[in-house]
Protein backbone atom coordinates (compact mmCIF):
# COMPACT_ATOMS: atom_id res chain seq x y z
CA UNK A 1 0.00 0.00 0.00
CA UNK A 2 1.22 3.56 -0.59
CA UNK A 3 2.52 5.50 2.44
CA UNK A 4 2.54 9.13 3.47
CA UNK A 5 5.80 10.63 4.71
CA UNK A 6 6.17 13.92 6.57
CA UNK A 7 9.31 15.99 7.03
CA UNK A 8 8.68 17.27 10.55
CA UNK A 9 11.67 19.63 10.35
CA UNK A 10 10.26 21.37 7.29
CA UNK A 11 6.75 21.54 8.77
CA UNK A 12 5.64 25.00 9.91
CA UNK A 13 2.23 23.99 11.20
CA UNK A 14 0.20 25.78 8.52
CA UNK A 15 -2.28 22.94 8.71
CA UNK A 16 -3.57 22.73 5.13
CA UNK A 17 -3.01 18.97 5.24
CA UNK A 18 -5.24 18.60 8.29
CA UNK A 19 -8.00 20.60 6.64
CA UNK A 20 -7.71 18.53 3.46
CA UNK A 21 -7.47 15.08 5.08
CA UNK A 22 -8.17 15.15 8.84
CA UNK A 23 -8.28 11.35 8.92
CA UNK A 24 -4.65 11.18 7.84
CA UNK A 25 -3.03 14.31 9.29
CA UNK A 26 -3.04 16.01 12.66
CA UNK A 27 -0.70 18.35 14.56
CA UNK A 28 0.85 17.89 17.99
CA UNK A 29 0.98 20.50 20.77
CA UNK A 30 3.97 22.16 19.09
CA UNK A 31 1.97 22.58 15.91
CA UNK A 32 4.04 20.03 13.97
CA UNK A 33 2.45 17.50 11.66
CA UNK A 34 1.61 14.03 12.90
CA UNK A 35 0.69 11.35 10.38
CA UNK A 36 -2.18 9.46 12.02
CA UNK A 37 -1.96 6.50 9.69
CA UNK A 38 0.87 6.16 7.21
CA UNK A 39 -0.62 3.59 4.86
CA UNK A 40 -3.74 4.32 2.86
CA UNK A 41 -5.82 2.42 0.36
CA UNK A 42 -5.25 3.09 -3.32
CA UNK A 43 -8.85 4.32 -3.59
CA UNK A 44 -7.92 7.31 -1.42
CA UNK A 45 -4.92 8.30 -3.49
CA UNK A 46 -6.36 11.35 -5.27
CA UNK A 47 -7.65 12.90 -2.04
CA UNK A 48 -4.38 12.30 -0.19
CA UNK A 49 -2.29 13.52 -3.10
CA UNK A 50 -4.35 16.73 -2.96
CA UNK A 51 -3.57 17.01 0.75
CA UNK A 52 0.14 16.51 0.04
CA UNK A 53 0.05 19.23 -2.64
CA UNK A 54 -1.68 21.61 -0.22
CA UNK A 55 1.43 21.90 1.97
CA UNK A 56 2.96 25.36 1.46
CA UNK A 57 6.44 24.09 2.35
CA UNK A 58 6.35 20.73 0.52
CA UNK A 59 6.89 18.83 3.76
CA UNK A 60 4.76 15.89 2.64
CA UNK A 61 5.29 13.12 0.13
CA UNK A 62 3.91 9.75 -0.85
CA UNK A 63 6.01 6.61 -1.11
CA UNK A 64 5.01 3.67 -3.23
CA UNK A 65 7.12 0.75 -2.13
Amino acid sequence: MPRVEADRTACKGYGNCVIAAPDVFDVDDDGTVVVRCESFPEADRARIEAAVRSCPVAALSIRDD
Binding site: G15, I19, G31, A46, A50, R53, S54, P56
Partner: protein, 412 residues
Protein backbone atom coordinates in the same frame (compact mmCIF):
# COMPACT_ATOMS: atom_id res chain seq x y z
CA UNK B 1 -14.04 14.26 -21.17
CA UNK B 2 -11.95 13.56 -24.23
CA UNK B 3 -9.49 15.99 -25.67
CA UNK B 4 -6.64 18.18 -24.53
CA UNK B 5 -6.31 20.70 -21.74
CA UNK B 6 -4.27 23.83 -22.17
CA UNK B 7 -3.35 25.79 -19.04
CA UNK B 8 -2.14 29.35 -19.52
CA UNK B 9 -0.01 30.31 -16.52
CA UNK B 10 2.43 28.03 -14.71
CA UNK B 11 2.57 29.46 -11.24
CA UNK B 12 0.95 27.63 -8.35
CA UNK B 13 -2.62 27.68 -9.67
CA UNK B 14 -1.69 26.41 -13.12
CA UNK B 15 0.78 23.79 -11.93
CA UNK B 16 -1.56 22.45 -9.25
CA UNK B 17 -4.32 22.16 -11.88
CA UNK B 18 -2.06 20.04 -14.08
CA UNK B 19 -1.07 17.89 -11.09
CA UNK B 20 -4.68 17.52 -9.97
CA UNK B 21 -5.70 16.39 -13.45
CA UNK B 22 -3.11 13.60 -13.50
CA UNK B 23 -3.89 12.66 -9.92
CA UNK B 24 -7.55 12.25 -10.88
CA UNK B 25 -6.75 9.96 -13.78
CA UNK B 26 -6.91 12.43 -16.66
CA UNK B 27 -5.04 10.81 -19.53
CA UNK B 28 -5.29 13.35 -22.35
CA UNK B 29 -2.67 15.89 -23.32
CA UNK B 30 -1.88 18.71 -20.90
CA UNK B 31 0.05 21.77 -22.05
CA UNK B 32 1.22 24.32 -19.51
CA UNK B 33 2.25 27.71 -20.91
CA UNK B 34 3.98 30.60 -19.14
CA UNK B 35 5.54 33.88 -20.23
CA UNK B 36 8.24 33.56 -17.58
CA UNK B 37 11.39 31.71 -18.64
CA UNK B 38 11.96 30.60 -15.05
CA UNK B 39 8.48 29.08 -14.59
CA UNK B 40 7.23 27.11 -12.79
CA UNK B 41 8.28 28.41 -9.42
CA UNK B 42 6.60 29.21 -6.12
CA UNK B 43 6.12 32.85 -5.09
CA UNK B 44 5.90 32.92 -1.27
CA UNK B 45 9.66 32.33 -0.86
CA UNK B 46 10.44 35.29 -3.17
CA UNK B 47 9.95 37.73 -0.28
CA UNK B 48 11.54 35.41 2.29
CA UNK B 49 14.15 32.66 1.87
CA UNK B 50 14.91 33.30 -1.81
CA UNK B 51 15.23 37.05 -1.24
CA UNK B 52 17.46 36.37 1.75
CA UNK B 53 19.71 34.21 -0.41
CA UNK B 54 19.25 31.04 1.62
CA UNK B 55 17.22 29.25 -1.07
CA UNK B 56 18.07 29.08 -4.76
CA UNK B 57 15.85 28.78 -7.85
CA UNK B 58 15.92 25.00 -7.77
CA UNK B 59 14.55 24.96 -4.22
CA UNK B 60 11.48 26.98 -5.20
CA UNK B 61 10.66 25.01 -8.34
CA UNK B 62 7.05 23.83 -8.51
CA UNK B 63 7.69 21.27 -11.26
CA UNK B 64 11.18 20.25 -12.37
CA UNK B 65 11.51 19.29 -16.04
CA UNK B 66 11.93 15.58 -15.34
CA UNK B 67 8.83 15.55 -13.16
CA UNK B 68 6.84 17.36 -15.87
CA UNK B 69 7.96 14.64 -18.26
CA UNK B 70 6.86 11.88 -15.87
CA UNK B 71 3.46 13.53 -15.58
CA UNK B 72 3.13 13.87 -19.32
CA UNK B 73 2.79 17.65 -19.06
CA UNK B 74 4.21 19.69 -21.93
CA UNK B 75 5.77 22.86 -20.54
CA UNK B 76 6.16 25.92 -22.79
CA UNK B 77 8.13 28.72 -21.14
CA UNK B 78 8.84 32.24 -22.27
CA UNK B 79 5.59 32.25 -24.27
CA UNK B 80 3.06 34.97 -23.57
CA UNK B 81 -0.60 34.46 -24.46
CA UNK B 82 -1.77 37.50 -26.41
CA UNK B 83 -5.32 36.63 -27.41
CA UNK B 84 -8.04 34.08 -26.86
CA UNK B 85 -10.34 33.11 -29.71
CA UNK B 86 -13.11 31.10 -28.08
CA UNK B 87 -14.90 30.70 -31.41
CA UNK B 88 -12.04 28.64 -32.82
CA UNK B 89 -10.94 27.42 -29.36
CA UNK B 90 -7.45 28.75 -29.93
CA UNK B 91 -4.97 30.71 -27.82
CA UNK B 92 -2.67 33.03 -29.77
CA UNK B 93 0.83 33.42 -28.39
CA UNK B 94 2.83 36.61 -28.84
CA UNK B 95 5.34 34.89 -31.10
CA UNK B 96 2.57 34.17 -33.62
CA UNK B 97 1.99 30.51 -32.70
CA UNK B 98 -1.48 29.26 -31.95
CA UNK B 99 -2.50 26.52 -29.54
CA UNK B 100 -5.83 24.78 -29.93
CA UNK B 101 -7.62 23.36 -26.92
CA UNK B 102 -10.62 21.31 -25.92
CA UNK B 103 -10.52 22.67 -22.39
CA UNK B 104 -8.76 25.88 -21.38
CA UNK B 105 -7.68 26.89 -17.89
CA UNK B 106 -6.77 30.54 -17.42
CA UNK B 107 -4.17 30.87 -14.64
CA UNK B 108 -2.32 34.03 -15.68
CA UNK B 109 -2.25 35.49 -12.20
CA UNK B 110 -1.54 39.11 -11.43
CA UNK B 111 1.23 41.69 -11.78
CA UNK B 112 2.35 44.48 -9.48
CA UNK B 113 -0.01 47.46 -9.44
CA UNK B 114 1.86 50.12 -11.41
CA UNK B 115 3.14 53.14 -9.54
CA UNK B 116 4.31 56.49 -10.85
CA UNK B 117 7.73 55.91 -9.32
CA UNK B 118 10.39 54.36 -11.50
CA UNK B 119 14.06 54.90 -10.83
CA UNK B 120 15.86 52.05 -12.58
CA UNK B 121 18.17 50.11 -10.32
CA UNK B 122 16.91 51.84 -7.19
CA UNK B 123 13.12 51.41 -7.08
CA UNK B 124 12.05 47.78 -7.15
CA UNK B 125 8.87 45.78 -7.34
CA UNK B 126 8.55 42.15 -6.35
CA UNK B 127 6.46 39.57 -8.13
CA UNK B 128 8.75 37.43 -10.27
CA UNK B 129 11.92 35.47 -9.72
CA UNK B 130 13.79 38.03 -11.83
CA UNK B 131 12.49 40.84 -9.59
CA UNK B 132 13.67 38.91 -6.54
CA UNK B 133 17.12 38.30 -8.01
CA UNK B 134 17.53 41.99 -8.81
CA UNK B 135 16.36 43.06 -5.37
CA UNK B 136 18.49 40.46 -3.63
CA UNK B 137 21.64 41.94 -5.20
CA UNK B 138 20.68 45.37 -3.94
CA UNK B 139 20.06 44.35 -0.32
CA UNK B 140 23.55 45.20 0.92
CA UNK B 141 24.08 45.41 4.69
CA UNK B 142 24.12 48.98 5.94
CA UNK B 143 21.97 50.36 3.15
CA UNK B 144 18.77 52.27 3.89
CA UNK B 145 15.58 50.80 2.41
CA UNK B 146 12.14 52.40 2.10
CA UNK B 147 9.26 49.99 1.66
CA UNK B 148 6.20 51.62 0.12
CA UNK B 149 3.17 49.58 1.16
CA UNK B 150 2.66 47.96 4.55
CA UNK B 151 0.74 44.88 3.44
CA UNK B 152 2.02 41.34 3.78
CA UNK B 153 4.57 41.53 0.95
CA UNK B 154 5.95 44.86 2.17
CA UNK B 155 6.21 43.47 5.68
CA UNK B 156 8.07 40.37 4.52
CA UNK B 157 10.49 42.35 2.35
CA UNK B 158 11.10 44.72 5.27
CA UNK B 159 11.78 41.78 7.57
CA UNK B 160 14.15 40.06 5.15
CA UNK B 161 16.05 43.28 4.52
CA UNK B 162 16.28 44.09 8.23
CA UNK B 163 17.62 40.59 8.91
CA UNK B 164 20.28 41.21 6.25
CA UNK B 165 21.45 44.31 8.10
CA UNK B 166 19.67 47.14 6.27
CA UNK B 167 17.94 50.04 7.95
CA UNK B 168 14.30 49.81 6.96
CA UNK B 169 11.32 52.17 6.99
CA UNK B 170 7.85 51.00 5.99
CA UNK B 171 5.49 53.65 4.62
CA UNK B 172 1.73 53.28 4.23
CA UNK B 173 -1.12 55.78 3.89
CA UNK B 174 -3.13 53.87 6.48
CA UNK B 175 -2.34 54.06 10.20
CA UNK B 176 -3.16 50.37 10.31
CA UNK B 177 -2.32 48.84 6.93
CA UNK B 178 -4.03 45.53 7.76
CA UNK B 179 -7.23 47.20 8.97
CA UNK B 180 -9.04 46.61 5.68
CA UNK B 181 -8.64 42.88 6.26
CA UNK B 182 -8.77 42.44 10.04
CA UNK B 183 -10.52 45.60 11.25
CA UNK B 184 -9.16 48.69 12.99
CA UNK B 185 -8.57 47.19 16.43
CA UNK B 186 -6.57 44.18 15.29
CA UNK B 187 -5.02 46.27 12.52
CA UNK B 188 -3.62 48.70 15.12
CA UNK B 189 -2.23 45.74 17.06
CA UNK B 190 -0.49 44.35 13.96
CA UNK B 191 0.87 47.81 13.16
CA UNK B 192 2.99 47.56 16.33
CA UNK B 193 4.88 44.50 15.08
CA UNK B 194 7.51 46.40 13.01
CA UNK B 195 8.66 48.57 15.92
CA UNK B 196 8.77 45.56 18.18
CA UNK B 197 11.23 44.02 15.72
CA UNK B 198 13.34 47.06 14.84
CA UNK B 199 11.74 48.31 11.66
CA UNK B 200 10.74 51.98 11.52
CA UNK B 201 7.44 53.05 10.06
CA UNK B 202 5.64 56.09 8.68
CA UNK B 203 2.02 55.09 8.86
CA UNK B 204 -0.97 57.25 8.03
CA UNK B 205 0.98 59.17 5.42
CA UNK B 206 1.38 58.60 1.69
CA UNK B 207 4.55 58.69 -0.35
CA UNK B 208 3.97 61.29 -3.03
CA UNK B 209 7.35 61.34 -4.70
CA UNK B 210 10.31 59.04 -5.13
CA UNK B 211 13.21 60.65 -6.98
CA UNK B 212 16.90 59.98 -7.57
CA UNK B 213 19.05 61.52 -4.88
CA UNK B 214 22.80 61.16 -5.30
CA UNK B 215 23.44 57.41 -5.52
CA UNK B 216 20.15 56.67 -3.82
CA UNK B 217 16.60 57.93 -3.71
CA UNK B 218 14.59 60.35 -1.68
CA UNK B 219 11.05 59.61 -0.66
CA UNK B 220 8.85 62.62 0.00
CA UNK B 221 5.85 62.00 2.20
CA UNK B 222 2.50 63.74 2.16
CA UNK B 223 3.31 65.59 5.39
CA UNK B 224 6.43 67.07 3.83
CA UNK B 225 9.02 64.81 5.47
CA UNK B 226 11.78 63.70 3.13
CA UNK B 227 13.44 60.33 3.77
CA UNK B 228 16.83 59.69 2.21
CA UNK B 229 17.45 56.07 1.25
CA UNK B 230 19.63 53.95 -0.94
CA UNK B 231 16.72 52.02 -2.48
CA UNK B 232 12.98 51.56 -2.31
CA UNK B 233 10.60 48.67 -2.86
CA UNK B 234 7.04 49.42 -3.95
CA UNK B 235 4.42 46.85 -2.89
CA UNK B 236 1.03 48.44 -3.40
CA UNK B 237 -1.00 45.47 -4.50
CA UNK B 238 -1.52 43.54 -7.69
CA UNK B 239 -3.76 43.77 -10.74
CA UNK B 240 -5.02 40.69 -12.59
CA UNK B 241 -3.43 39.66 -15.89
CA UNK B 242 -6.73 39.60 -17.75
CA UNK B 243 -6.00 42.20 -20.43
CA UNK B 244 -5.32 39.52 -23.02
CA UNK B 245 -8.90 38.29 -22.61
CA UNK B 246 -10.81 41.39 -23.66
CA UNK B 247 -13.21 40.63 -26.51
CA UNK B 248 -12.75 36.89 -25.91
CA UNK B 249 -16.35 36.39 -24.87
CA UNK B 250 -15.38 35.82 -21.24
CA UNK B 251 -16.74 38.17 -18.59
CA UNK B 252 -13.65 40.14 -17.60
CA UNK B 253 -13.77 42.85 -14.94
CA UNK B 254 -11.02 42.84 -12.33
CA UNK B 255 -10.46 39.20 -13.20
CA UNK B 256 -12.26 36.43 -15.07
CA UNK B 257 -15.78 35.89 -13.73
CA UNK B 258 -16.58 32.26 -12.94
CA UNK B 259 -19.27 30.21 -11.26
CA UNK B 260 -18.72 28.86 -7.77
CA UNK B 261 -16.59 26.00 -9.05
CA UNK B 262 -14.36 27.83 -11.49
CA UNK B 263 -16.14 27.59 -14.81
CA UNK B 264 -15.81 30.87 -16.73
CA UNK B 265 -19.12 32.57 -17.40
CA UNK B 266 -20.38 32.96 -20.91
CA UNK B 267 -18.19 30.39 -22.66
CA UNK B 268 -17.97 26.61 -22.84
CA UNK B 269 -14.89 24.68 -21.85
CA UNK B 270 -13.01 27.49 -20.11
CA UNK B 271 -12.05 27.68 -16.43
CA UNK B 272 -10.02 30.17 -14.42
CA UNK B 273 -7.99 29.64 -11.25
CA UNK B 274 -5.76 31.66 -8.95
CA UNK B 275 -5.12 35.39 -8.70
CA UNK B 276 -6.78 36.12 -12.06
CA UNK B 277 -10.01 34.33 -11.21
CA UNK B 278 -13.18 35.87 -9.78
CA UNK B 279 -15.35 33.04 -8.52
CA UNK B 280 -18.90 33.40 -7.26
CA UNK B 281 -18.91 32.78 -3.52
CA UNK B 282 -22.18 31.51 -2.04
CA UNK B 283 -21.01 32.55 1.44
CA UNK B 284 -20.51 36.15 0.34
CA UNK B 285 -23.29 36.06 -2.28
CA UNK B 286 -21.04 37.83 -4.76
CA UNK B 287 -18.01 37.26 -6.93
CA UNK B 288 -14.60 37.57 -5.27
CA UNK B 289 -11.03 37.51 -6.47
CA UNK B 290 -8.84 35.94 -3.80
CA UNK B 291 -5.06 36.31 -3.94
CA UNK B 292 -4.02 33.66 -1.41
CA UNK B 293 -1.77 30.68 -2.14
CA UNK B 294 -4.09 28.21 -0.41
CA UNK B 295 -7.06 29.44 -2.44
CA UNK B 296 -5.14 28.93 -5.68
CA UNK B 297 -4.34 25.34 -4.70
CA UNK B 298 -7.92 24.59 -3.62
CA UNK B 299 -9.33 26.13 -6.81
CA UNK B 300 -6.94 24.00 -8.86
CA UNK B 301 -8.18 20.83 -7.14
CA UNK B 302 -11.78 21.88 -7.76
CA UNK B 303 -11.26 22.63 -11.46
CA UNK B 304 -9.21 19.46 -11.86
CA UNK B 305 -12.26 17.55 -10.67
CA UNK B 306 -14.61 19.37 -13.02
CA UNK B 307 -12.45 18.47 -15.99
CA UNK B 308 -11.32 14.96 -15.06
CA UNK B 309 -14.38 13.73 -13.15
CA UNK B 310 -17.29 15.85 -14.34
CA UNK B 311 -19.89 13.44 -12.94
CA UNK B 312 -18.68 13.94 -9.37
CA UNK B 313 -19.28 17.03 -7.22
CA UNK B 314 -16.01 18.96 -7.20
CA UNK B 315 -14.61 19.88 -3.74
CA UNK B 316 -15.07 23.59 -3.17
CA UNK B 317 -12.43 25.84 -1.66
CA UNK B 318 -12.77 26.32 2.09
CA UNK B 319 -12.77 29.58 4.06
CA UNK B 320 -10.01 32.05 3.15
CA UNK B 321 -6.65 31.29 4.71
CA UNK B 322 -3.40 33.23 4.49
CA UNK B 323 -0.18 33.25 6.46
CA UNK B 324 2.76 35.67 6.59
CA UNK B 325 6.18 35.35 8.21
CA UNK B 326 6.98 38.87 9.28
CA UNK B 327 8.76 40.75 12.04
CA UNK B 328 9.84 37.55 13.74
CA UNK B 329 6.36 36.05 14.00
CA UNK B 330 3.91 34.05 11.93
CA UNK B 331 0.69 35.98 11.33
CA UNK B 332 -2.26 33.93 10.07
CA UNK B 333 -5.76 35.01 9.00
CA UNK B 334 -8.71 32.75 8.27
CA UNK B 335 -12.36 33.17 7.41
CA UNK B 336 -14.24 36.44 7.72
CA UNK B 337 -12.66 39.12 9.86
CA UNK B 338 -13.40 42.80 10.37
CA UNK B 339 -14.83 45.33 12.78
CA UNK B 340 -18.48 44.39 12.20
CA UNK B 341 -17.88 41.09 14.00
CA UNK B 342 -17.49 40.43 17.75
CA UNK B 343 -13.87 39.92 18.75
CA UNK B 344 -12.44 37.73 21.50
CA UNK B 345 -8.78 38.09 22.43
CA UNK B 346 -6.79 35.16 23.84
CA UNK B 347 -3.15 35.00 24.86
CA UNK B 348 -0.64 37.84 25.14
CA UNK B 349 2.04 38.39 22.55
CA UNK B 350 4.63 39.98 24.82
CA UNK B 351 4.09 37.79 27.90
CA UNK B 352 3.19 34.49 26.23
CA UNK B 353 4.58 34.93 22.71
CA UNK B 354 1.23 34.22 21.15
CA UNK B 355 -2.15 35.82 20.61
CA UNK B 356 -5.38 34.80 18.90
CA UNK B 357 -8.37 36.94 18.03
CA UNK B 358 -11.58 35.05 17.32
CA UNK B 359 -14.28 36.78 15.27
CA UNK B 360 -17.89 35.82 15.92
CA UNK B 361 -21.34 36.63 14.69
CA UNK B 362 -24.44 35.65 16.67
CA UNK B 363 -22.25 33.36 18.74
CA UNK B 364 -20.83 31.48 15.79
CA UNK B 365 -17.15 31.52 14.84
CA UNK B 366 -16.63 33.36 11.54
CA UNK B 367 -12.88 33.96 11.42
CA UNK B 368 -9.61 34.29 13.30
CA UNK B 369 -6.28 36.08 13.37
CA UNK B 370 -3.32 34.51 15.16
CA UNK B 371 0.20 35.71 15.83
CA UNK B 372 2.75 33.12 16.89
CA UNK B 373 0.07 30.48 17.50
CA UNK B 374 -0.28 28.09 14.56
CA UNK B 375 -2.06 25.42 16.60
CA UNK B 376 -4.76 27.95 17.52
CA UNK B 377 -5.20 28.88 13.87
CA UNK B 378 -5.65 25.23 12.94
CA UNK B 379 -8.18 24.73 15.74
CA UNK B 380 -10.09 27.77 14.43
CA UNK B 381 -10.02 26.51 10.84
CA UNK B 382 -11.37 23.17 12.03
CA UNK B 383 -14.04 25.05 13.95
CA UNK B 384 -14.93 27.07 10.86
CA UNK B 385 -15.28 23.88 8.83
CA UNK B 386 -17.85 22.43 11.22
CA UNK B 387 -19.74 25.63 12.08
CA UNK B 388 -18.50 25.79 15.68
CA UNK B 389 -19.69 28.30 18.23
CA UNK B 390 -17.19 30.90 19.42
CA UNK B 391 -17.56 29.51 22.95
CA UNK B 392 -16.44 26.06 21.79
CA UNK B 393 -13.42 27.51 20.02
CA UNK B 394 -12.46 29.52 23.11
CA UNK B 395 -12.77 26.40 25.28
CA UNK B 396 -10.56 24.46 22.88
CA UNK B 397 -7.88 27.15 22.99
CA UNK B 398 -7.98 27.78 26.71
CA UNK B 399 -8.07 24.06 27.44
CA UNK B 400 -10.71 24.33 30.10
CA UNK B 401 -14.34 23.37 30.30
CA UNK B 402 -15.20 26.30 32.52
CA UNK B 403 -14.95 30.04 32.22
CA UNK B 404 -12.36 31.02 29.64
CA UNK B 405 -9.28 32.80 30.94
CA UNK B 406 -9.72 36.53 30.92
CA UNK B 407 -8.65 37.73 27.52
CA UNK B 408 -5.54 39.87 27.50
CA UNK B 409 -6.12 43.58 27.35
CA UNK B 410 -5.70 44.56 23.75
CA UNK B 411 -2.86 47.02 23.59
CA UNK B 412 -3.71 49.67 21.05
Amino acid sequence: MAGSTVIIGASVAGVRTAQALRSLGYRDAITLVDQDLHAPYDRPPLSKQFLAGSWDAERISLLPADRAGELGVELLRGQRASRLDTGRAVVELSGGTEIGYDTLVVATGARPRPSPWTVPGRVFVLRTLAHAQALRSALVPGRRLAVIGGGFIGAEVATTAYNLGLTVTVIDPLRAPMARVVGDEVGRFLARLPHRYGVATRLGVAADLIAPDGDGVLVRLGDGEVIHCDLAVVGIGAVPNDDWLTSSGLTVEDGVWCDEAGRAEGVCGVYAVGDVARWFSPGFDRHRRVEHWTSAVEQATCVGHRIARPAVAAPRPGPDYVWSDQYGVTVQVAGVTGDALDRHWLGDLDRQGRVAILYGEHGRLRGAVTVGWPSAMLACRRGLARGALVEEAIRTLTGSAGTPQRPAACQT
